[in-house]
């Protein structure tokens, strides 16, 4: 870009505000000496500058376009405390092993953002700037949210501990399944799958992301049959059971109508899709807090912008925003299943959702120390191509506070859905038992399962069916600091 002044350093006063076009870095958006305040929002971008654009200028441009700048100098800046409102790029690092990419650290004063509004925060941070011509590609990798700003958000309406207390389920991962086929079942047939899976031993069943109110099954019909199934299963097992009733709809008014009906019917949980949008998510989160409802979020759509390393945003940022916006469950990867997920990256997501503080851990993709300021914990959900033969790996990688969802791995069982559910529950309980007894369960997983299968035929048949199924593909979203691919198993 032409620099009319040819200036190298930040300009001040009359020189800064002369009409015309300036490089972003001389306008004050590049401040290598800036020390971020505790109350600043900090964003880390992966920048791929256009050829010929220097890294610090590209970083300054991103800071400018995500805060106060426009393409030319405007005198009206001088009517404001412009130095405060300007975002400041203060550090640029080369990305290891990627010669054309840079990590740019940009600090934003907290007063740039409306309290308790993910929509407002994101309109700046991932607004116009992603289409900006001076960068060839841009990815939001991580954010540090200051405690003062976090405290304006409600967070998860229920939180992991209260959810466990409501469900009376402790000391083990929860089990779930998504009803399959995801499309086409009538309400009556759909409820059959729910009943069988819950009675067989699962804690939850789930609507899929694209089950709303279609010609083959309208929403009220689904809700009524699912609640018959949930209550029958609860009476049959003396356990609290739930089905995530998806209340996603074309309008917010319809969404509330569905949520109210779920409440009337006594459901413990409702579900939304990420494609709802941030405003609607925050609204239904507040409704859920008010109505004692657990809120499940399906991350429909996220891979369109989170999967490729050079452009878009990392899923860990979505995890942060959703913990702030306030959801109780979020799908966050399985490591071993059919969907994208490097083990270290997935650990970074899980820590972001569950920990009260996360330290800097570049190997997990966590670039900032983050204090969560007593916001509740959000339960990660592992779903997509996982099965009971991987139970030891799932417990090892994902821990205890997780919902393991075996959709195909329950419904596809050769002896029926109840048998599939029972097999999963027996596999899980035997693995937790072995872990607590101090057994090296990761190494001895297959032995533990084989032993448990001796007194549980459904588990034996499940193992026979799925024991050799795995999805070994290299991940695309991998750490930059300890380069590795998902190990073959």
């Amino acid at each position: 870009m032409a620099t009319p002044t040819g200036a190298k350093k930040e300009l001040k006063g009359a020189d800064r505000y002369k009409a015309g076009v300036l490089e972003y870095k001389v306008m004050g958006y590049w401040q290598p000496d800036y020390v971020p305040k505790d109350t600043d929002v900090i964003a880390l971008f992966r920048i791929t500058p256009q050829p010929g654009v220097e890294a610090d200028e590209a970083a300054a441009a991103v800071a400018g376009e995500s805060s106060t700048a426009t393409w030319t100098v405007v005198w009206t800046d001088r009517l404001t405390a412009a130095d405060l409102y300007r975002a400041k790029a203060y550090r640029v690092d080369k990305v290891p092993n990627s010669p054309d990419q840079y990590f740019a650290y940009i600090a934003y004063d907290m007063d740039l953002f409306e309290p308790d509004s993910i929509a407002n925060l994101t309109a700046s941070i991932i607004g116009n700037v992603f289409g900006f011509k001076a960068v060839k590609a841009l990815r939001l990798e991580d954010m540090r949210i200051p405690v003062a700003y976090l405290k304006t958000f409600q967070g998860p309406p229920t939180g992991v501990m209260v959810e466990r207390e409501r469900l009376d389920k402790y000391g083990r991962p929860l089990l779930g399944a998504t009803t399959k086929p995801k499309l086409g079942l009538s309400g009556r047939n759909y409820g059959r799958v729910v009943y069988e899976a819950l009675k067989g031993g699962l804690d939850f069943t789930k609507d899929d992301e694209n089950i709303n109110s279609q010609p083959f099954m309208h929403w009220r019909d689904r809700f009524l049959y699912c609640m018959e199934a949930v209550n029958r299963a609860s009476a049959a097992t003396a356990e609290v059971k739930g089905h995530y009733l998806n209340v996603t709809a074309g309008t917010v008014e319809q969404m509330y109508e569905r949520a109210e009906f779920a409440k009337e019917l006594g459901s413990v949980i409702i579900m939304i899709d990420l494609v709802l949008g941030y405003t609607a998510i925050q609204s239904i989160s507040k409704w859920a807090r008010k109505n004692d409802m657990i809120l499940h979020l399906h991350r429909a759509g996220n891979s369109t912008y989170s999967r490729q390393k050079n452009h878009g945003m990392n899923f860990r940022v979505i995890c942060k925003w959703m913990r702030m916006a306030g959801v109780d469950h979020i799908h966050a990867g399985t490591v071993v299943g059919k969907l994208e997920g490097d083990p270290l990256m997935v650990k970074g997501f899980y820590d972001t959702l569950l920990q009260p503080h996360t330290p800097v851990a570049p190997e997990l993709g966590l670039f900032f120390k983050q204090e969560w300021a007593s916001l509740g914990k959000c339960m990660p959900v592992a779903s997509g191509g996982i099965h009971l033969g991987q139970m030891h790996q799932l417990l090892h990688y994902l821990g205890e506070d997780v919902i393991l969802q075996f959709g195909g791995g329950t419904i596809g069982h050769p002896d029926g859905i109840q048998a599939g559910a029972e097999a999963n529950r027996v596999a899980l309980e035997s693995m937790v038992q072995a872990r607590n007894e101090g057994v090296d369960y990761l190494a001895k997983g297959p032995e533990i399962l084989a032993k448990a299968a001796k007194s549980c035929k459904p588990l034996q048949h499940g193992l026979d069916t799925w024991k050799n199924i795995s999805f070994n593909y290299e991940s695309t979203d991998t750490p930059d600091f300890t380069p590795q691919v998902t190990p073959a198993r």
Binding site: M161, R164, E165, D168, Y170, G171, R172, K199, G200, G201, L224, M227, E228, N231, R232, S234, A235, A236, T237, A238, E239, V240, E264, L265, G266, P356, K377, D415, G416, Q418, A419, A421, E422, R425, V426, E429, S430, V432, Q433, N436, E437, G438, A452, S455, C456, K457, P458
Partner: protein
Amino acid sequence: MHENPRNMTQGQFSFLPPLTDDQIKAQIAYAIKQGFAVSVEFTDDPHPRNTYWEMWCQPMFDTKDPAAVMLEVNECRKTWGANHYIKVQAFDNARWRESVAMSFIVNRPKYEPGLALARQEGPGRSIHYTVHSYATDKPRGERYK
């Protein structure tokens, strides 16, 4: 079709064969190692929302010997075992949890009638459901006889 034969599956290990005393002791040892306080509770009402079972004792905050906890389990069994459910619970008082960390059944009544589902039909096909444990048709102390 295969049907799940169990009718009361609360707790961490209800799908496994009943735990032996050694297995129970191993779980208690794990709980103590994690710094949890173990307690013993019993009830004759297995309703899923019967939150407050009777406390056999207070959580054993200072007991570091699994055998001592096992003694309480066995004392509770002697008194209530014939016709009550007994569970072992472990409580974690660490900040950010401050709740139950483990819970598993260690004793079942000889006869388990289970629960019924009562339906009250309402307008618009809606139904109000009541889960009801058969045992509670009789007063406490006379159930499971």
